[in-house]
């Protein structure tokens, strides 16, 4: 895959350039890097992954059905704005699901894949594709069902919890030290003006990764040497619901995003 190899080299070169620069607003810097990449490679990694996700979306599963037979919250096959309204409670599973877990529900319940056959890389690619239909939409997450309210409350508590050998917690940095810098990046105001919920799923050019918010939350814990919650687990969903609800009304600038 010469294109991918070439793109990776380009990305690495840009990453080195980026690391050499200090004190630059990471959002402005990401825009600049994106423009550079577009000019040199002619295509963005986000576009490639969305394309890959589209193919997977239209692939038939063991049951002979594609993902167009699945309901992502707004009715069967409706993708326009669907990701901006997740996480939410689904009557068919009796659970609150986010984009990642709803894709798994779709693959296993509708398409007939066995849970063990579901690859993380495919879930992320499909998440990129579905999210791409919500660019320009406002976040609209509700707390209508008791389960939604329960998970929101748990997410809020987890956000403010101090735990582990380093006494850390999300709010310790993302509320108290917003704008301050530990290492290279300033702490984002994830509940306020930075609207961090709208930055994921995203492609991170500095290390060539494709991440959903699930990966981002796990990395946050990992960075501060705190044990990480498993993918698709309730604590991640709870934190997501809390973050998404706190960012209600924020318009998605671009999904999937292109970040540092």
């Amino acid at each position: 895959m010469p294109l991918k190899a070439w793109l990776t080299t380009g990305v690495l070169a840009l990453a080195v350039l980026a690391l050499a620069q200090e004190g630059v607003d990471p959002r402005e810097e990401a825009k600049r890097q994106k423009q550079l990449l577009l000019e040199t490679a002619g295509i963005l990694p986000t576009e490639l992954i969305v394309e890959q996700g589209k193919e997977l979306f239209n692939r038939k599963g063991p049951s002979g059905k594609t993902m167009a037979e699945c309901d992502f919250g707004l009715g069967k096959g409706v993708l326009e704005g669907a990701a901006a309204r997740l996480p939410r409670y689904f009557l068919d599973t009796g659970k609150v699901e986010d984009l990642d877990s709803r894709i798994i529900t779709c693959m296993t319940r509708v398409q007939g894949f066995k849970p063990a056959q579901v690859k993380r890389s495919e879930v992320v690619a499909v998440a990129f594709y579905i999210a791409s239909h919500s660019t320009g939409k406002p976040i609209q997450v509700r707390l209508l069902f008791p389960e939604e309210r329960a998970l929101y409350a748990l997410g809020e508590k987890l956000f403010y919890a101090r735990s582990g050998a380093r006494d850390v917690g999300c709010a310790t940095c993302h509320v108290t030290y917003v704008g301050k810098r530990a290492g290279v990046l300033p702490y984002a105001d994830v509940l306020g003006k930075d609207k961090s919920w709208t930055h994921w799923p995203a492609y991170r050019y500095s290390n060539d990764q494709i991440w959903t918010m699930q990966d981002r939350i796990r990395a946050c814990y990992g960075n501060i040497a705190h044990p990480q919650p498993d993918l698709y687990s309730l604590p991640i969903l709870a934190l997501e619901l809390f973050l998404a609800y706190s960012n209600n009304g924020a318009v998605v600038e671009e999904w999937p995003a292109f970040v540092r």
């Binding site: 748990l154 101090r162 050998a165 380093r166 006494d167 687990s233 309730l234």
Partner: protein, 191 residues
């Protein structure tokens, strides 16, 4: 009557126990879906961590005296009584991302560009001297920052067992010793 009193005592003990806790059992059950290691830190959350969580890192004034006293009681000192150890060893601890990672939050290291979450420590020893009081204060803040700044983001290196008393004394030396590169070399990014 005696039985009633005992029940009352048990209930009040239970209420006291619950008041020290941040997460309740049904919440912990749900957190367990996050995996064993993740759940464990919440199941075994310390009462002081719970207090900081409940009050979102700003303790009410009436809780402060007891809190500070408890944190102070956690501080232990090196066997040999020396609060300043080997500054070279201290530098290796200070500037190691996996070890103390001090530079990520504090400016002043001649090895790594520092962050600004904590106060600048630039030329710490030059500015403060090496009096016993300065040594003690520096040692105690590193050992247990919560004894001075309740619920601060700074790790409680000694109290949480992240560093030994001897290692903390090495870091104190790195900050204070006039010979230390921390005081003789310019900080990365210094103007």
């Amino acid at each position: 009557m005696k039985k009633a009193l005992l029940t009352l005592l048990a209930l009040s003990l239970l209420a006291w126990g619950l008041a020290q806790r941040y997460f309740q059992d049904p919440e912990l059950e749900r957190i367990k879906s996050g995996g064993k290691a993740y759940a464990e830190v919440f199941v075994s959350q310390r009462p002081d961590q719970a207090l900081c969580s409940i009050h979102r890192n700003r303790l009410p004034a009436d809780l402060l005296p007891k809190f500070l006293e408890e944190q102070r009681s956690l501080i232990k000192y090196p066997q040999n009584g020396k609060l300043m150890g080997d500054w070279k060893k201290g530098g290796a601890i200070f500037n190691n991302l996996q070890k103390a990672n001090c530079f990520s939050c504090h400016f002043g290291s001649p090895v790594h560009l520092g962050g600004d979450v904590g106060p600048s420590l630039e030329k710490y020893g030059v500015k403060r001297g090496q009096s016993e009081a300065v040594q003690r204060y520096t040692y105690e803040v590193i050992y247990n920052a919560w004894a001075y700044f309740p619920c601060t983001v700074m790790y409680r290196f000694g109290a949480q067992g992240l560093l030994t008393p001897e290692e903390i004394a090495d870091v104190v030396a790195y900050l204070l010793d006039p010979e230390s590169e921390f005081n003789t070399k310019p900080a990365v990014g210094s103007k």
